[in-house]
């Protein structure tokens, strides 16, 4: 069964460092998303991406964040200068054109020290 894959599964970084989280969405999907979940809190929308551009972003997705689809398969989230409060599970998701449900990856745990 097709699935969304994410790497790394866990990354530990120092505050102020850049981090890139990678995702391979399901191959025929067209809409891509990043969500995050801070420990014990709800899953929060960060950004959606369609047709090679951001279609919507939340307040959390400030200038420190960026997304890119560098080739036909990868979808990346970059945090330019990490802060302690960026520590969370980051989930990539994708969906097809005709369905409303998002398919999520297993997440990348980011720990900022």
């Amino acid at each position: 069964e097709p699935e969304v894959t994410q790497t790394p599964s866990h990354q530990v970084t120092q505050m102020g460092q850049e981090v890139i989280l990678r995702c391979v969405p399901i191959s025929n999907h067209l809409y891509f998303y990043w969500y995050r979940q801070i420990l014990g809190q709800k899953v929060e929308f960060l950004v959606s991406f369609y047709n090679n551009e951001i279609s919507e972003k939340s307040e959390i997705f400030d200038d420190q964040f960026s997304v890119e689809r560098p080739d036909g398969s990868n979808f990346t989230l970059k945090i330019r200068s990490t802060k302690l409060e960026d520590s969370a599970m980051y989930f990539c998701a994708s969906r097809g054109r005709s369905t409303g449900e998002l398919f999520f990856g297993e997440g990348s745990r980011l720990t900022v020290l």
Binding site: Y33, K42, E44, S48, Y50, S58, G107
Partner: protein, 113 residues
């Protein structure tokens, strides 16, 4: 601004009995609702969805009920099994903005033998 609320953080049910998880929403523009199941250290897994043109959708042991006038939906699991133990998230979106899902805070379901 909690547009999607799950007021019960946890629920404990005996195996074989019915589990009922509740969700309330405030945004009347929402017209598509989903339930996701999440195990620790994994991404949310889509369970079942319902469009606002329906008031019930059933898939095996899972049934979602939608009460638009009350802005309330519920997920029924019957019979409950120990493998159903997980965190269940309600999510909502609007046809006018299908780029993102808004998640509730989740309900931890524990099914005991």
């Amino acid at each position: 601004d909690q547009q999607v609320k799950q007021n019960s953080p946890s629920l404990s049910v005996q195996e074989g009995r019915i589990s009922i998880l509740n969700c309330d929403y405030t945004n009347s523009m929402f017209d598509y609702f989903l339930w996701y199941k999440k195990y620790p250290a994994e991404g949310p897994t889509f369970l079942i969805s319902i469009s606002s043109i329906k008031d019930k959708n059933e898939d095996g042991r899972f049934t979602v009920f939608l009460n638009k006038s009350a802005k309330h939906l519920s997920l029924h699991i019957v019979p409950s099994q120990p493998g159903d133990s997980a965190v269940y998230f309600c999510a909502a979106s609007s046809t006018y903005n299908t780029d993102k899902l808004i998640f509730g805070t989740g309900t931890r379901l524990q099914v005991f033998p």
